[in-house]
C-alpha cells in the first residue's frame, strides 16, 4: 500500500513562493499551513501578513488574509479577533516588522492577552529592503548599515523578543524554535501547533519565534546559512519554551 509521507498542504495555494533560493521563510510558511491542515481549521482561520519579504504571504496561504502596514499586524489581528472571536487569527511577521517598528503593537497585544497567534521570523536582518541592521542583528554582524559589524556603542544590542514577551502575564505560550535542520523543523512545527491550540482553547496570546536564514543578505550560500544560524544565532538566542500554560503541557 502506498503511503504519502509528504505532500503539499492544502492550506497553501499552488502559487510559487517568490523567496530567494534556500530562504527558510518557505519552510515556516509550510509548517503553519501543515498545522492549520492538521487541526482542520482552514475554514475559519484568518491570517495577517506583514511588510517585509513575507508581504505576499496572502497569496500563499489558502484562506482569508489581510495585508497590514509595517509592524501593525497585531493591531489588525486584534480588530479581526474582536469582531469574530470564534475565528483563529494569526500574524506572520519579520524581525524588523515585529521587533522594531511594531514593538508597541506586539507588546500590547501580548499584554492584553489577545487571543491570537504570532509567528515571528527572526533572520537577524532586514531582508526586503536590502540587508540593513535589524533589532535582532547580532553583535559584530555585518549588515549594509553596520558595515564594520554591529557595534554596541552606536547600535546597542539585540532585542530578545521571546524573553521579553514571556514576562507579560497576557502572553501564555512563548517558544523559540529553529528550522536549520529536519529535527528542529519537526520541533518548530510542534511549537506552532501548541501556539494555535492555546488560541483555540482561549487561553491568551501565543507566539513562536522562529530562527530563520537570509542567504541573500548574509552573503552566504543556503547551506552555509544553515551552519551560520546554528553557530551564531543559537548561542545568542537559546531555543526552548519560555512559557507554557498547564492546560497544553
Amino acid at each position: 500500500m502506498a503511503k504519502v509521507m509528504f505532500k503539499r498542504p492544502a492550506a497553501l495555494t499552488d502559487k510559487q513562493f517568490h523567496y530567494c533560493p534556500g530562504c527558510t521563510h518557505g519552510i515556516i510558511h509550510r509548517l503553519v499551513a501543515e498545522v492549520i491542515d492538521e487541526m482542520g481549521i482552514r475554514d475559519h482561520t484568518v491570517g495577517v501578513c506583514p511588510v517585509g519579504c513575507s508581504v505576499f504571504a496572502y497569496d500563499y496561504f489558502n484562506m482569508d488574509m489581510f495585508q497590514a502596514a509595517h509592524g501593525r499586524a497585531p493591531a489588525v489581528a486584534t480588530g479581526i479577533k474582536r469582531t469574530l472571536p470564534d475565528r483563529m487569527v494569526f500574524t506572520y511577521q519579520g524581525d524588523g516588522d515585529l521587533a522594531s517598528i511594531g514593538t508597541a503593537e506586539i507588546v500590547h497585544a501580548a499584554a492584553r492577552g489577545e487571543k491570537i497567534t504570532t509567528v515571528f521570523v527572526n533572520n537577524a536582518v532586514y531582508g526586503m529592503t536590502g540587508g540593513q541592521m535589524a533589532p535582532t542583528t547580532l553583535p559584530g554582524q555585518k549588515t549594509t548599515t553596520t558595515p564594520k559589524g554591529r557595534e554596541k556603542e552606536a547600535a546597542g544590542l539585540p532585542v530578545k523578543i521571546s524573553e521579553m514577551l514571556s514576562t507579560l502575564d497576557g502572553a501564555v505560550y512563548v517558544a523559540r524554535v529553529s528550522v536549520h535542520d529536519p529535527k528542529h523543523i519537526t520541533q518548530a512545527k510542534k511549537a506552532i501547533r501548541k501556539a494555535f491550540e492555546v488560541q483555540q482553547a482561549g487561553l491568551g496570546f501565543s507566539l513562536v519565534e522562529v530562527l530563520s536564514t537570509c542567504p541573500t543578505n548574509w552573503g552566504l550560500s543556503p547551506k552555509e546559512s544553515l551552519k551560520w544560524l546554528a553557530d551564531n544565532m543559537l548561542p545568542y538566542y537559546p531555543l526552548g519554551v519560555y512559557k507554557e500554560p498547564a492546560e497544553v503541557k
Binding site: 500500500m1 502506498a2 533560493p21 509550510r30 547551506k223
Partner: protein, 72 residues
C-alpha cells in the same frame, strides 16, 4: 521502497535537500529548469528510505514522498 518526486519547475537548486538526505542520493541535475536553476533529482531511488527529510527541508515545497508499505 519509496518514491520521491520533484516538481522540477519549482526547484531553485538551493541544495538544502541534498544537505539533509541521509542516503546521499540527491544531486543537482546537469540541465537547467525554466527559472535557470539546476533542479534537484534522486539518482538511486532504490536506496531511498522514504524518510522525507528532503521534503521537510525544502523551502519551496518541491518534493513529494510516497512510501510503499507491506500489506498488514
Amino acid at each position: 521502497m519509496a518514491t520521491v518526486s520533484f516538481r522540477e519547475d519549482r526547484c531553485k537548486g538551493c541544495e538544502l535537500c541534498i544537505t539533509v538526505c541521509p542516503e546521499k542520493i540527491i544531486v543537482l541535475a546537469d540541465h537547467i529548469n525554466a527559472m535557470g536553476f539546476h533542479p534537484a533529482a534522486v539518482v538511486e531511488m532504490d536506496k531511498c528510505k522514504g524518510c522525507a527529510m528532503c521534503a521537510r527541508m525544502c523551502p519551496d515545497v518541491v518534493i513529494e514522498v510516497v512510501k510503499e508499505e507491506k500489506q498488514a
